[in-house]
């Protein structure tokens, strides 16, 4: 935690808050979330709780004015649910592709939306399934200069599985690098 704060402070100090990054960019996002599964089948309890983390990498991002769009590859790891009763939800790993849109509402606040699909592999058993994801959320700009932007993200994601609908409320960081603005 301390290291994270130190990193943000360092970036803020070293980065003159100049004009926002523009043009093509690369992005890395990391987030953590509780994962609440609402089953479409009869279960012992109405909602099962798991946790997880997500990392995405975007090589195809473009930002112009308040608009921002990118195509990103995503890994999501979800744990097995909290043990309760005679069943528990299985944990799994997901590999997906997202199309992300963002709109800068204010100087430091942006709204983002993501649509994506993924292939999921149960971690312990050799089974796989396809699913879709949609998210909407806010992004608070922590630091920026012409080369990069660092934002705090808080997306609300709905994971649409065939037998389960889930809600994720994540908190994360997003780093965007604008290579076209670098150099002399």
């Amino acid at each position: 935690m301390k290291r994270g704060i130190l990193l943000i402070a360092l970036i803020s100090l070293l980065s003159p808050l100049a004009s926002m990054g523009e043009g093509r960019y690369y992005a890395v996002s990391l987030s953590l979330f509780p994962y609440l599964s609402i089953p479409h089948y009869e279960d012992e309890i109405a909602v099962r709780t798991s946790g997880g983390g997500e990392a995405s990498i975007g090589a195809l991002g473009y930002r112009t004015g308040p608009y921002d769009v990118s195509l990103e590859m995503r890994y999501r790891g979800t744990t097995a649910s909290i043990p309760h009763g005679f069943y528990r939800a299985r944990g799994f790993d997901s590999f997906g592709l997202d199309l992300r849109f963002a709109y800068q509402l204010k100087e430091k606040l942006a709204l983002s939306a993501t649509l994506g699909s993924e292939i999921n592999f149960y971690r312990k058993v050799d089974h796989a399934f396809a699913s879709f994801s949609a998210s909407i959320g806010g992004e608070y700009l922590l630091a920026q200069n012409p080369t990069y932007r660092l934002s705090l993200t808080f997306p609300l994601t709905v994971h649409l599985r065939k037998e389960i609908t889930t809600v994720q409320t994540a908190v994360g960081l997003r780093y965007q690098l604008f290579p076209a603005k670098g150099g002399r």
Binding site: P34, L36, S37, P39, H40, Y41, E42, D43, E44, I45, A46, V47, R48, T49, A80, S81, I82, P83, H84, G85, F86, Y87, R88, A89, R90, K108, L109, I119, F121, Y122, K124, V125, D126, H127, A128, F129, A130, S131, F132, G138, Y140, F154, L156, R161, K162, E163, I164, V167, T169, V171
Partner: protein, 323 residues
């Protein structure tokens, strides 16, 4: 910004706290009933299997030991249905609860009668285990005995899945037989990656009309659509490769001179248990990892890479015991 953060933080907190697991009382585990079937086929034209009877007998003891260590009622009832040697009949019977005695010769009729009797005494919190050690066919059939006959009765595993699904409680079916993976009902929401599947099938499954329901019976098998094997462990003591690993997962001891003389209290909490929970997945994972380590090769010279265990798919894992 402050105005935006406050409602968001409240929403996150509310969703975090809504985890049902924290507020709903956990059900208490009930009794454990096991029906263990094994045939050595000495009487028939099938290849003789001398590891099957030790499979059933030692699993019976191992499950009893596990039940004694687990939380819950600690009451175990194991019923052995064995075909041994050249005989094609037996006078042995078992009494399941207060029901009429059932002959233990492993025929379709006797086993279905046993399930019927279980249906009348089991409760939703009980655990019902059915194990089968014997030959299987590429059609997903179990090769059972026929009373007074030297031929086999090929019975679809689905016959027993349906019968078991009528019994109240959690049900685990364990099949140590060739082609046993073909007996696992297809999940309504996921595909096995061990069988012939690909990404287009996974997406097709998402949109098709099949539905996932909580499995009435969890199935754990020795192989996929391939053969499964048995081998000698110590002098003339044989087991199915899968059951040998399963016994180890349950904390059973090998090598031993007399399986009946092992004090059950001396056995450990099953090493396959994770976070104090023994589940269908933890057994599966243990057996699968066992296959990939030299533990398996240590005992089995003719280890086959082709044999791979399988388990029921879908969103849920079934908890068998909590310690």
């Amino acid at each position: 910004m402050k105005r935006a953060i406050l409602p968001l933080a409240t929403l996150i907190l509310l969703i975090l706290l809504s985890g049902c697991e924290l507020f709903i009382e956990k059900p208490e585990a009930g009794k454990v009933y096991a029906i263990l079937v094994a045939l050595d086929y000495t009487y028939s034209i099938q290849d003789t299997l001398t590891g099957t009877l030790p499979d059933a007998r030692e699993l019976n003891r191992a499950w009893e030991a596990v039940t004694a260590k687990a939380q819950g009622e600690k009451e175990y009832h194991g019923y052995l249905f064995l075909q041994e040697g050249g005989t094609t009949t037996t006078t042995k019977t078992v009494t399941i609860g207060n029901t009429a005695p059932v002959n233990t010769f492993p025929t379709k009729a006797n086993l279905l009668k046993a399930f019927e009797n279980l249906e009348s005494i089991a409760t939703p919190n009980d655990l019902i285990i059915f194990t089968y050690s014997g030959h299987g066919s590429p059609l997903g059939e179990l090769l059972l005995a026929e009373e007074g006959e030297k031929t086999n009765d090929n019975v679809a595993a689905s016959t027993f899945l349906e019968a078991l699904s009528q019994v109240p409680g959690r049900k685990l079916m364990i099949l140590d037989t060739c082609y046993s993976g073909l007996s696992i009902p297809e999940s309504g929401a996921s595909h096995s990656t061990l069988l012939n599947n690909n990404i287009s099938k996974w997406y097709k499954k998402y949109w098709d009309s099949s539905r996932y329901t909580k499995p009435e019976v969890f199935v754990l098998t020795a192989s996929t659509d391939t053969k499964s094997y048995e081998e000698e462990i110590t002098n003339e003591h044989r087991h199915g490769l899968f059951t040998f690993a399963l016994l180890d997962a349950l904390g059973w001891k090998h090598p031993h001179d007399d399986y009946a003389s092992i004090p059950l209290a001396s056995l450990p909490i099953p090493p396959a248990a994770k976070e104090s929970i023994l589940s269908a997945d933890s057994l599966y994972t243990y057996v699968k990892d066992y296959k990939s380590t030299n533990k398996w090769i240590k005992y089995f010279s003719s280890f086959s890479q082709g044999q791979h265990p399988m388990v029921s798919g879908g969103a849920l894992d079934m908890v068998l015991f909590t310690f």
